[in-house]
């Protein structure tokens, strides 16, 4: 019999429940508020008192209201039909809800149970299978969606029967599996998995070996992120965090993109609803919406569900990874998730850590990042979950707990900088402070050297050194004055500006400049490095400035032109002419 309880205390969305039987950590319960069932999750138990966080507003709740425990944790429903979906943090389908306002206690099923899917078997009777092995597949739009042995099955099973090719809904049995004891288990096309537990069911998790192209030059060339890698984007508000993340979501080289809008603005999600059904995926030519799943728990939606949203999103990624797909998970913003943890910790009157965040914040964050990664499945296929989170540091100060904890967990760091944003140098990623650990991976280096060109890594490092040196020179010029430094300082400074304006800066709102394929990135970097390697010997810094400004202008015009189009070639010609005029 299910454990019952009664409400004995309420502070905002933290409710204390006196229970009459066993309860589990993270177990779900329903609180009955005058006939409306509010979903809540156990976060602490002391004696017969359970503290539960309610995923809804607790307005009107009274002491003495009844609670029923559900005997399960928060689970995601996994099956065909998730693609292009729009869900809240608890995976309620937002598109099938009625009314303009969200109604408390209205839960909608994430999957359509009546829809028929054309099933094709992969496994045969007599096959030995384990969790996550493929039994069959259905076409989910363009994507062959594998029907797998449920992740919760442990040990080896024998396929007793498998459904023949035909149309089935997600609740019909498509296979019967027998466990080691000979007991039979029915398998449907839908399974459930607790979101806070990482999905296993792969053979190994090797180090990433390939970069995930994003079309953003400052990422792909300067600080590439690996397929199955992790990265984070911290930055004060107004530095273009969201614009950069949307650019990655639109252009990232992935089969599937899950966007978790976690405690952020609703209008940003609306932008996705409105634009993605129209925008084209540059890699496949399909509509962007066809590869996107949106988990949206905006800042005005209940705080506890905000925490759940990132886990729900990760679980969906892991599900598709087990089918052999490359998934990209973008979470905006993980700071809001951390704040949700802080709010609950605070209401439970726990002893606070730094900035009142819970002391285990760092462990929670690194656990979550660890769920990303490239995997080799049991059948030898590979899949990947690449994870990029944004962080919104309080006051733009990177020395705060969420940024510091994330820095320990993520391998790429894209530091957005107020100063660059003020100067409208977008993307405002600081080229000196930011890094990608993947650039040091021998596996990644090998792939880059073979896919881009031999010697590529050296070129990237050369450009980085030029930018760093330019910054040092700028500091010197600022201290000593234009006349107080040798000409070579000016030249070094302007060479770094050339790289900055001509390469690192990119207009995310320009149809052409916003997406820069690797081939074009290589072309531009070669062009710019070639200029930087020349010695100019200007008479005075004024000439140096105007000469470089002219080159910068041409490079910008090139970036705005179709690659190798007539206009592009014309600009190139004027650049060559300019260079030859200077006697070079």
């Amino acid at each position: 019999m299910a454990t019952k309880g009664t409400v004995t205390g309420i502070v905002s969305n933290l409710v204390t429940v006196k229970v009459d039987g066993p309860v589990g950590e993270n177990e779900l319960c329903h609180i009955n508020l005058g006939g409306t069932l509010l979903l809540a999750e156990v976060i602490k138990v002391t004696g017969d008192l359970a503290s539960v966080q309610v995923f809804e507003s607790t307005r009107g709740l009274k002491n003495g209201d009844e609670v029923t425990f559900l005997g399960r944790m928060l689970e995601a429903s996994l099956g065909p039909g998730l693609l292009s979906g729009v869900y809240d943090g608890l995976q309620n389908d937002l598109t099938t809800m009625t009314g303009v306002f969200l109604k408390r206690g209205e839960y909608t099923d994430p999957l359509d149970h009546s829809k028929l899917w054309d099933f094709k078997p992969i496994a045969s009777v007599g096959d030995k299978v384990v969790a996550a092995d493929w039994l069959g597949e259905v076409m989910e739009g363009w994507l062959p969606h594998k029907i797998m042995v449920p992740f919760s099955f442990s040990g080896e099973y024998t396929v007793r029967s498998i459904a023949p090719e035909g149309s089935y809904n997600i609740d019909q049995t498509i296979a019967v599996l027998a466990d080691a004891e000979g007991e039979e288990h029915k398998v449907t096309m839908c399974q459930k998995w607790p979101v806070k537990v990482a999905v296993r069911g792969y053979r190994e998790k090797p180090r990433p070996s390939k970069i995930m192209e994003t079309g953003v030059r400052i990422i792909d060339t300067f600080n590439p992120i690996a397929e199955g890698g992790t990265g984070f984007i911290p930055g004060p508000f107004g530095c273009g965090k969201t614009v950069l993340q949307h650019a990655i979501a639109k252009q990232g080289e992935a089969d599937l993109v899950v966007m978790a809008a976690c405690g952020e603005r609703a209008n940003e999600v609306v932008e996705i609803f409105t634009e993605y059904p129209e925008l084209i995926d540059p890699h496949t030519g399909r509509k962007l919406m066809e590869r996107t799943v949106i988990i949206c728990n905006t800042s005005n939606m209940p705080v506890a569900a905000r925490e759940a949203s990132v886990y729900t999103a990760m679980t969906i990624c892991e599900y598709y990874r087990a089918m052999g797909y490359r998934c990209l998970l973008l979470a905006d913003s993980t700071s809001r998730w951390a704040q949700a943890l802080r709010e609950m910790s605070n209401r439970m009157e726990e002893l606070p850590g730094q900035d009142a965040f819970p002391v285990d914040l760092s462990a929670i964050i690194s656990n979550f990042y660890a769920r990303a990664g490239q995997v080799v499945l049991n059948n030898g296929e590979t899949g990947a979950v690449t994870f990029i989170g944004t962080v919104s540091p309080a006051g733009g100060n990177l020395k705060e707990p969420v940024t510091e904890s994330t820095k320990k967990a993520a391998r790429c760091f894209y530091a957005l900088e107020q100063n660059r944003a003020d100067q409208k140098r977008y993307p405002a990623v600081n080229p000196v402070e930011s890094y990608s650990k993947y650039l040091e991976y021998p596996e990644i280096q090998r792939t880059l050297e073979s896919t881009v060109e031999r010697g590529w890594i050296d070129k990237v490092l050369e450009a980085k050194v030029l930018v760093r040196r330019g910054k040092e020179m700028a500091d010197q010029i600022n201290i000593l004055g234009d006349d107080g430094v040798p000409m070579s300082y000016h030249e070094a400074f302007w060479k770094s500006e050339l790289i900055d304006f001509g390469f690192l800066q990119q207009d995310a709102f320009d149809a052409i400049d916003s997406v820069c394929p690797m081939e074009r990135q290589k072309y531009m970097l070669d062009l710019i490095l070639d200029i930087c390697r020349r010695e100019f010997n200007f008479e005075d810094y004024e000439k140096c400035r105007s000469y470089f400004k002219e080159m910068i202008n041409i490079l910008r015009q090139m970036n705005y032109s179709e690659f190798k189009s007539e206009g592009f070639e014309n600009y190139l010609a004027s650049l060559t002419k300019l260079l030859s005029e200077n006697g070079n």
Partner: protein, 437 residues
């Protein structure tokens, strides 16, 4: 609000702080209202029999034997067309001497709009101020605050914006408004002959700070009535949200909550987001646009209040006094409208976004030149041109006294570019240079 006959009254308070009272009571619902010694209070915590309430008007003079009676419902507002042209206090009671409003009782601080049912904001709100229209264009359904030091004329600018904006209703939520400012708004609305499309909820500095916590919910409940039920375009003005946040911290402090940054409650982000996210473009044409004021302490935007606000709102308009031009300007670096690209070049001329970026970039160069000058270095010819440009740019475009159309703003910018720079120095796309230079 009358108490219901069957409700029990209590007469023994167990604890009193400056903002809250606690007593033992049963059958009390979270968030419900009560009268404590004749003052309005709201349940914020229950623990066993112990109920804690925040008393909106403060607890001065409340004795332990004060009479407490519960209403059985959260804060509500009566909504109807009769709200138009009226002034109310934080409880929704008329303060203009007029009669009580008749209408449907609505819960204040109700649920949020399903994000999937929202529409993308796409209507331009012109204000005539170039620092806003040119560089930080406003869009209906947007939420944006003014960040300003207390000595900046933010209330005047906000009133100007409201009067020039093409909207059906304007709802003023005044929190800790000085009596002078309250009268200023009243007079500004009256003299513009706009009183019949304005609803005001006002808490002045003379009134208790905790009362302010009710103002945004009241204002937005009224706004939702006009936007959702009547499909109207509603502009909500909230001033000053810093004082609202201060009131939040008072209550959380009295409830012994562990403060986070700048002694603000840990839930500040969610508390502010609940208000600002009411800004919406609805599917049937109605919209709520929120323009708020967040006062700063000496321009410090890293303080928890402006910082959290900045992460919630769709940009901010930053006012500062510019010593070079002698005007109050809309700071082009610190100001931002996140929704501007939804209308720039789409509802305005094609060259809008490039002209805006070039204008600001050149202004940034002028700031660098200024630093050089202050450090005693010689200036180049380009530096000098930048400085001259910056003066004109501040006076003719950034100043809050400007009131011209967007076309005129763009033409002014092109004129300034041509006066001081070569086309290459602006970095604008060649096709636009060819057309407009």
């Amino acid at each position: 609000m009358a108490t219901k006959a069957y409700q029990r009254t209590y007469t023994k308070l167990q604890a009193i702080t400056k903002a809250t009272v606690s007593l033992n009571a049963t059958g009390v619902a979270n968030d419900e209202l009560a009268l404590v010694g004749g003052r309005l209070a709201q349940v914020v915590k229950t623990k066993g029999e112990r109920v804690t309430m925040q008393v909106f008007s403060g607890t001065e003079g409340i004795p332990t034997n004060a009479e407490v009676s519960f209403f059985g419902e959260p804060p509500t507002l009566k909504v109807s067309d009769q709200l138009s042209g009226r002034f109310f206090n934080a409880y929704g009671k008329p303060i203009d001497g007029g009669p009580e409003v008749e209408g449907e009782l609505r819960e204040a601080g109700g649920p949020s709009v399903n994000p999937y049912k929202r529409r993308q904001p796409s209507e331009l709100i012109p204000t005539g101020i170039a620092g806003i229209d040119l560089n930080n264009t406003l869009v209906s359904g947007q939420k944006i605050p003014f960040f300003a030091d207390p000595d900046q004329p933010y209330n005047q600018v906000m009133a100007d914006v409201a009067m020039r904006a093409d909207v059906d209703k304007i709802i003023l939520g005044g929190m800790g408004l000085s009596n002078d400012d309250y009268l200023f708004f009243r007079q500004a609305f009256e003299s513009a002959g706009a009183l019949d499309r304005i609803v005001s909820f006002v808490n002045t500095t003379e009134e208790p700070p905790v009362e302010r916590l009710l103002i945004p919910d009241m204002a937005l409940t009224a706004a939702e009535y006009f936007a959702v039920d009547k499909n109207e375009k509603v502009l909500v003005l909230l001033t000053d949200m810093t004082l609202y946040a201060d009131a939040l911290s008072i209550v959380s402090n009295r409830m012994d909550q562990i403060p986070s940054k700048d002694s603000m409650p840990g839930s500040l982000y969610s508390d502010l987001a609940k208000i600002y996210e009411k800004a919406v473009q609805l599917p049937d044409g109605g919209s709520i646009t929120i323009i708020a004021v967040t006062t700063l302490n000496d321009g410090d935007i890293t303080h928890a209040i402006p910082d959290n606000t900045g992460y919630i709102t769709e940009g901010q308009i930053f006012l500062r006094a510019d010593s070079d031009s002698g005007c109050v300007i809309v700071d082009p670096f610190r100001s931002l409208s996140r929704l501007k690209q939804l209308v720039q070049g789409k509802k305005t001329r094609e060259d809008h976004s490039q002209v805006m970026n070039a204008g600001v970039r050149l202004y940034a160069d002028a700031q660098n030149a200024k630093t050089k000058l202050q450090n005693g270095f010689d200036l180049s010819d380009y530096d000098l041109r930048c400085l001259d440009y910056a003066k004109d740019y501040a006076k003719q475009l950034l100043s809050i006294d400007v009131n011209i159309s967007i076309e005129e703003m763009l033409d002014t910018a092109w004129r300034l570019f041509a006066k001081y720079f070569s086309p290459a120095e602006t970095g604008i796309k060649q096709s636009l240079i060819d057309k407009y230079w």
